[in-house]
Amino acid sequence: MPPMPGKTLYDKIWDAHVVAEQDGEAILYIDLHLIHEVTTPQAFAGLRANRRAVRRPDRTLAVADHNIPTEGQGLGVDAVADDEARLQLQTLGRNVEDYGIEYFQMGDIRNGIVHVVGPEQGRTQPGMTIVCGDSHTSTHGAFGALAHGIGTSEVEHVLATQTLRQKKAKNFRIRIEGEPAPGVGAKDYALAIIGEIGTAGGTGYVIEYAGSAVRALSMEGRMTLCNLTIEGGARAGLVAPDETTFEYLKGRPSTPKGGAWEMALGYWKSFFSDDDAVFDREIVLDAAKIAPTVTWGTSPEDVVAVTGAVPAPESFATPDKRASAERALGYMGLTAGQPITEAKIDVVFIGSCTNSRIEDLRAAAKVAAKALEGGRKVADGVRAMVVPGSGLVRAQAEEEGLDAVFRTAGFEWREPGCSMCLAMNPDKLEPGQRCASTSNRNFEGRQGRGGRTHLMSPAMAAAAAIAGHIADVRDFL
């Protein structure tokens, strides 16, 4: 008998969760279901109409994040000005009560962006399957958990059965090797990867990130990397758990304690790709060659090194690409050949599930502090806002004095939520405004109708706030 080929990390998690096979689909057990106000109302309505129960309320956690305001949260849901947002929040409140689901309400210090809260609470653990009605659920893959977004009908399916019907994806490994230059980190890696493979490059795959530069990343950095996996078309990204992972998890509210911790650790350590595992696709990047990266267009694949220039539409290979580049330049109000650092900024948004964790805020605050030392502040005419990912991140930043640095330097210090990442709450760009944003989507209108988004790292966004235009963070260190 020929020896069995090794398994990938994805294969192992998959195999550990197949409950049954039906009509060519696997019924996959779901260990953790995260829910929020926007994509769940009809799912609960469906349960009610069919008189179904939530199978595992204890494996479900609710937060309020997508449409909440980033000030006055202590006043409660009734104070939310937008009628539809308020109704969605009230609906979630009623649903979790009816079905006995734990809920971190708006204003609860544990509340925040769903993909910040899960890891922070230690709900997210290695080897798990995790779903949420939000595409950036891929974030949780940083812990070696198979995590991806689902639609509302699937939310209902998971609530009722604690399983999901799935077909298996292919394996893709991206290795990042070597040492990055100063000022370069996970966000730059992620943007460089999307630039390399394109926004559909990962379609049909689950991506595992490996290599020495990935190993060297903190959990926050790994979350940023996995978060942006969906922008490359793959539903899920993974990093095998290691000491960095276990160190992060230890002592979190929902991680096992005592003997159970040892038992869990043994289990978690079995989740890695075997040496002889076969990947359907593999690429290798040299970390040293990646510069601080920003987007110039309206797709996350429209990336350019901060030292580079806005590309000419003629430089693209296909007529389709040329046409979309043309359109993107028009929308963004940029000219081909212009150095990207010439782009003047109106708004800076530091936040979102991509970059609103403590390490992100520290990186941005460091740039702000350095600027203050040199007698500089947020440039005139620039509105810069910092929106922490959760109440706990906010509290920790305040303990470290980061809020004072931000405030003194002229940044607004807001309350947690998705905020200007998708502009479902009052934080929106005006038409034509240009934003240096640490979020994940630069689509037309994403941050407000007519708004122009440049994606970049928190340190780069802080540098742009001080300079008043896109700037190379290395000049600020």
Binding site: V19, A20, Y29, Q42, A49, N50, R55, Q88, A160
Partner: protein
Amino acid sequence: MEAFTRLDAAAAPLPLANIDTDQIIPKQFLKIVDRKGLAKGLFYDLRFDDDGRERPDFVLNQPTYKGAGVLIAGDNFGCGSSREHAPWALMDFGIKAVVSTSFADIFYNNCFQNGLLPVVLKADEVRQLMDEARGGNHVVSIDLEAQTVTSPSGAVFGFQIDPQRKAKMLKGLDAIGETLEAAKDIDTYEMKRALAQPWLEGA
């Protein structure tokens, strides 16, 4: 989805042809967060006047038919937009079956996704049901297993239905229902998991 086996319910006659889904549920009700609330928008413009007052002549506003479970409708019921809110609204109102000579395709499909039974009868049969439903006794019986509709006076009409759809409807199977056929496997999986990963039990 609830299983549909047999229904004995008051039937409301709605002798209009080409009732489209916009009439069944107008677009201002599509923003709702809960399918449950859709009953109030059902046939909104037929049921209410411009000032939001009930039109007393509309069949579902008449006391006799307020609790109707069956709708007897004219030809080509459910044409227009594909909105699934249409079957949701009907069901939310308490309608569990619609009888007509014909249904629009998409609406017909949507009914099966939601456990609403669309019954196709011949024109004279629909007319007879319509007439009887206007009388003092307007309770009809629908037996899905036997594929029959029995009129208030006891006349029995047979109807056709796709066998697979019938089977799923009888069991109340939707995607979730199908997965729940494997409920035993899920139970077993959970039992094993509880032993192997006890730290995940009792959050």
